[in-house]
Amino acid sequence: MTPFPFSEYIVAAIFWLFAAFAVAGAAIAALSTRVIRSVSGLALCCVGLAGLYYFLNSPFLALMEILIYVGAVCVTIIFGVMLSEPDEPARQGSERREALWGAVAGAVCAAVFVGIAQLGLRGVWPVHAPAGDELWSVERIGVQLLTTYSFAFEVISLVLLVAILGALAIAHGGRRKE
């Protein structure tokens, strides 16, 4: 069977596209001044991450990323944006002071990025033989969630339940009668 022509290049192009989505989304989320654009950047970043998870052999996590982040987290944050006035106020300090703080923040983040990237590129990582396809199946994740990790699974269900109840209590308790 001959492979599809240029399939290698198409796969590489799709990988680069998703990597660019993730990077551009994170940059938009961190840099834009309007909060609604930040939320859109977060959604774009999560779509890119879902693609990267797919390239990392895990379509299950790609689906979960879209479902939880794009479907739930971003929509919830947009509700929060609607219920408050989140746009950034005009900066109050002098221009030079703001520029100085911006430069300090940029330098710190550049140092973090370069340091960790160097660690990833130069570090000597133990390499295992790639696991077989049967170890990557969703069925295996399900079996493990209900056997080896059943306690953690129950605990995280409880955490989510308590978080929902706590969120309801906090949001309701602050309401004053007017």
Binding site: A19, L52, S58, L61, Y69, E88, W136, I156, I164, A167
Partner: protein
């Protein structure tokens, strides 16, 4: 490093995760509203998840452990967003503002 086969090397994913972490930290420092800071925190969570998955794909003997761990991470992040947003809305009701510079009642 061949750009065509980059998706088969761990380094590409680790560098992307490092960028996401740096962008998240920059946002946490520079954003001046609580919702902007929450979004930056989510990006840091995503960076951690991508790192876990990259290590899981290329260096772990049992690949289902990393996937389950990242799934738990997403659950924790979702719980965090729910709590944080309700706190933000409660703060907005009391102060009529969610700008971090104006929430300075405890500022000595």
């Amino acid at each position: 490093m061949n750009p065509i086969h980059l998706h088969e090397s761990a380094a590409a994913y680790l560098v992307i995760a490092a960028f996401l972490l740096a962008a998240g930290i920059f946002g946490l420092i520079r954003r001046r509203t609580l919702i902007g800071m929450l979004i930056s925190g989510e990006i840091i969570f995503s960076a951690a998840g991508l790192n876990f998955m990259a290590v899981n794909r290329f260096m772990a003997p049992d690949p289902s452990v990393g996937q389950i761990f990242v799934l738990f991470l997403m659950g924790i992040a979702a719980a965090e967003v729910a709590i944080a947003l309700s706190i933000i809305i409660a703060v907005y009701r009391n102060y009529r503002s969610i700008h971090s510079t104006e929430l300075s009642e405890l500022n000595g």
